[in-house]
């Protein structure tokens, strides 16, 4: 007999695990949450320092965190150590897996951009024939989005556009646009492109994480135990019933192996860790698609222009500053032909300065250029949807193990001509807009970061109605093991251009409430 059997074991403590814990415990269900890393103490673990006080003067230790472009010497300790937790990929097919194992996971550090998916994503196959449709629609998820937006205090401007569904937003007044943002807006409107404002989770106290918005309430119920430094290596299954009954985990410090028992298992470790755990456990893969369809979004395309009238400190009040957000505007109509399918959103920022990289100059000449262009720049950048392909997959690499002896992932992802065509279209569009505005193009690139950089990886345990072509049903429940749920981004069929966090939270809430009812009925 196990020492203690919980109703539900939750692996992972980020947004998805936190939401599951919140819903389940408030319905009287006892939960154990296992988190692979430690809890951060914001007072103890952070210190204000000058770059020269760091060992490498802010350069970061050479070779450390080579896949994490977001890392610098100030924040290097917040990311997962790639030597302790390796993964592999073909050098010709790079993948940037960006991980956090602290209690709260990546919810501690996300950018808080908060969007709903639209039926352009949920019904993707019907829109453009590219990829598959979800087994649910926006209407199914809308009530859950609304509740999540309430919890996360989302601000945004309602537009009534189908590709940019409105939500339960906090009313907010926006200051008047600067002349440059107004100019871009006018030029876009003339092209039939809608321009809006960023939608963002305000959270509380500047944080919109599971550790401040979800877990405290769950802990207050007395129904949640959280164990940190618990690295789960295998989900266990009762051979007689075929049901999941717990998990083996390894203490991060001592490497002592333990087993936790539960009636239901929920995986919320993040798309790739969840998939690694399922593959290492050898379960939930009768379809053969577990680990496939990995995708995220392209970031990096950008165009920077300088407003001549704003150079040399001559910008008049109201000319520069502010930003605009342009939701997907390409391929919304089947009538218009494009060189690519799907779409991208665009972010316009005004009032920035030029970078030294913009000028082939040095010394006094470079400084004079930087001074002249200070505050005169307008930039455009995008988040674009990557193609969803069976071929883009992960598998276990038994030859490489982490510091706890757990086999690592091998990631095999490649971009397609669609991504490159999309990136080119975006760069060309920005250039056209900025030139028409009368601004000087300082730089233009249609290059983008390797897959994974967006930290929006999803799709490796996709949901679907057909157990032969999907891992989960529409309730994020394993087709193979009825008491196994996956509530992180693994279940996505397509990620769209949107930050996936609101969708992950809404799906986790929906799956958790379904589980509550199924447990009440005795079906799980």
């Amino acid at each position: 007999m196990p020492k203690k059997e919980y109703d539900v074991l939750i692996v992972g403590s980020g947004h998805s695990g936190g939401m599951a814990a919140s819903i389940l415990t408030k319905n009287g269900i006892s939960c154990l949450m296992l988190n692979a890393g430690p809890e951060a103490d914001y007072q103890r673990d952070r210190t204000t320092k000058a770059a020269h006080e760091l060992p490498y003067r802010g350069f970061n230790k050479p070779g450390r965190l080579s896949h994490v472009y977001q890392a610098n010497e100030f924040n290097a300790n917040q990311w997962v150590d790639e030597k302790e937790n390796p993964y592999t990929h073909d050098p010709a097919k790079p993948y940037n897996w960006v991980r956090v194992r602290l209690l709260g996971g990546r919810s501690l550090f996300w950018a808080r951009q908060s969007f709903r998916l639209s039926d352009y994503e949920f019904k993707a196959a019907e829109i453009d024939g590219g990829g598959d449709s979800w087994p649910i629609s926006l209407a199914d998820l809308a009530p859950f989005y609304s509740r999540v937006e309430g919890i996360f205090h989302v601000t945004g401007r309602k537009e009534g556009w189908p590709q940019f569904p409105d939500g339960n937003f906090i009313e907010q007044s926006y200051p008047s646009d600067s002349q440059t943002i107004a100019k871009v807006t006018d030029l876009c409107k003339a092209r039939g492109i809608g321009v809006s404002k960023m939608r963002s989770s305000q959270g509380e106290g500047g944080l919109a994480s599971s550790i401040n918005l979800l877990l405290p309430g769950a802990v207050d119920t007395g129904k949640l135990d959280i164990v940190s430094n618990a690295i789960v290596r295998e989900i266990t299954v009762d051979k007689k019933t075929g049901k999941a009954n717990g998990a083996f985990f390894i203490d991060r410090h001592s490497k002592r192996e333990m087993h936790a028992s539960a009636k239901v298992v929920i995986l919320a470790a993040g798309t790739l860790e969840t998939t690694r755990l399922l593959l290492n456990s050898g379960i939930a893969n009768s379809s053969g698609v577990l680990g496939h369809y990995l995708h995220d979004q392209i970031y990096g395309v950008s165009v920077v222009a300088s407003v001549p009238e704003a150079r040399d400190g001559k910008a008049k009040p109201g000319m520069m500053g502010g930003s605009a957000f342009i939701p997907r505007f390409r391929n919304l109509s089947k009538d218009k032909k494009s060189s690519f399918i799907k779409g991208y959103c665009a972010i316009i920022g005004s009032g920035g300065s030029a970078s030294p990289n913009h000028f082939p100059a040095y010394g006094e000449e470079l400084q004079a250029k930087l001074d002249s262009y200070q505050g005169s720049c307008v930039s455009g950048s995008i988040y674009g949807e990557r193609t969803v392909r069976f071929e883009n997959h992960v598998r276990i690499n038994k030859d490489v193990k982490d510091a706890w002896g757990i086999p690592a992932l091998h990631i095999d992802v490649k971009d397609t001509p669609n991504e490159f065509a999309m990136a080119k279209d975006a760069a060309d569009t920005f250039e056209e807009l900025f030139k028409e505005a009368g601004w000087d193009i300082l730089s233009k690139t249609d290059k983008f970061y390797p897959p994974g950089y967006s930290i929006h990886e999803v799709g490796t345990a996709r949901m679907g109605d057909n157990p032969k072509s999907s891992v989960l049903n529409k309730w994020c429940q394993s087709h193979d093991i009825k008491n196994l749920f996956v509530v992180d981004g693994s279940s996505f069929v397509t990620c769209g251009w949107q930050n996936p966090t609101m969708t992950i939270l809404a799906l986790s809430m929906r799956a958790s409430e379904y589980l509550v009812e199924e447990m009440r009925k005795g079906n799980v």
Binding site: G37, P38, A40, R44, D45, R46, T47, T48, K49, A50, A51, H52, E53, L54, Y56, R57, G58, F59, K61, P62, G63, Y69, N72, E73, F74, N75, A76, N77, Q78, E84, L102, N229, R252, H253, G300, S302, V304, P356, N357, H358, F359, P360, A361, Y362, G363, E364, Q367, A403, S443, K444, T445, K447, Y449
Partner: protein, 206 residues
């Protein structure tokens, strides 16, 4: 540290209660047991100096000729401008010697080949070492190698152009982030938030 300040700090530390010392001594296996700081409270803070305040970096990765070229480059690419310190004022070349020595092999090759390439070009064009060129001669070699880099992950394919971009960028960062620059900014009364940040300490390391 000044001896007088150290003694002043010690004099403020409370004596450890004898009873606690005795209890710890009876349990030698317990953390904090025995002599030391186990039961001490209000332990004095002993200020220490930064190494750059007390000593010089020993440059040892580059050959003397390569290092002379690097110092010449530093003076040209990042000179003192508008009251800001230049790369040579902040020992940026010495810091880069350390940084490149700690870097992966491809970075080391980029630097060594780049510095040797500049030296070879100087000999070919002007029959002297790069370090001995005047400003006009150095410009003739360097300016054709300058390129705009709109995307920092798509660097020039030409190794000399790539090197010049990299060393220029690294010299700027090493200069801006140096203790000398920080002191100069502080002395001027200006604020420089760009080189100050919230540092995450190692969090419960294994």
């Amino acid at each position: 540290m000044k001896r007088r300040r150290f003694l002043q700090a010690l004099s403020t530390a409370p004596a450890v209660p004898a009873l606690v010392q005795e209890a710890n001594a009876q349990q030698p296996g317990r953390a904090g047991g025995g002599r030391g700081t186990g039961a001490a409270t209000d332990i004095p803070h002993i200020p220490v100096a930064a190494p750059d305040d007390a000593a010089d970096t020993v440059a040892k990765f580059f050959t003397p000729a390569q290092f002379a070229t690097l110092r010449k480059l530093a003076g040209i690419l990042v000179p003192p401008v508008k009251g800001n310190l230049g790369a040579l004022d902040t020992d940026a070349p010495e810091f880069l010697d350390f940084l490149v020595a700690s870097s992966p092999a491809d970075t080391q090759t980029l630097y060594r080949s780049g510095l040797d390439g500049l030296a070879a070009t100087a000999r070919r064009q002007f029959s002297k070492a790069f370090a001995d060129l005047d400003a006009k001669q150095a410009d003739q070699i360097l300016k054709p190698l300058l390129v705009q880099v709109p995307w920092v992950y798509d660097l020039p394919k030409d190794p000399m152009k790539h090197f010049l971009y990299q060393v220029h960028s690294d010299l700027r960062t090493a200069t801006r982030n140096s203790p000398e620059a920080a002191k100069a900014v502080a002395a001027s009364g200006r604020r420089s938030l760009s080189t100050t940040g919230l540092y995450w300490n190692p969090i419960d390391p294994v």
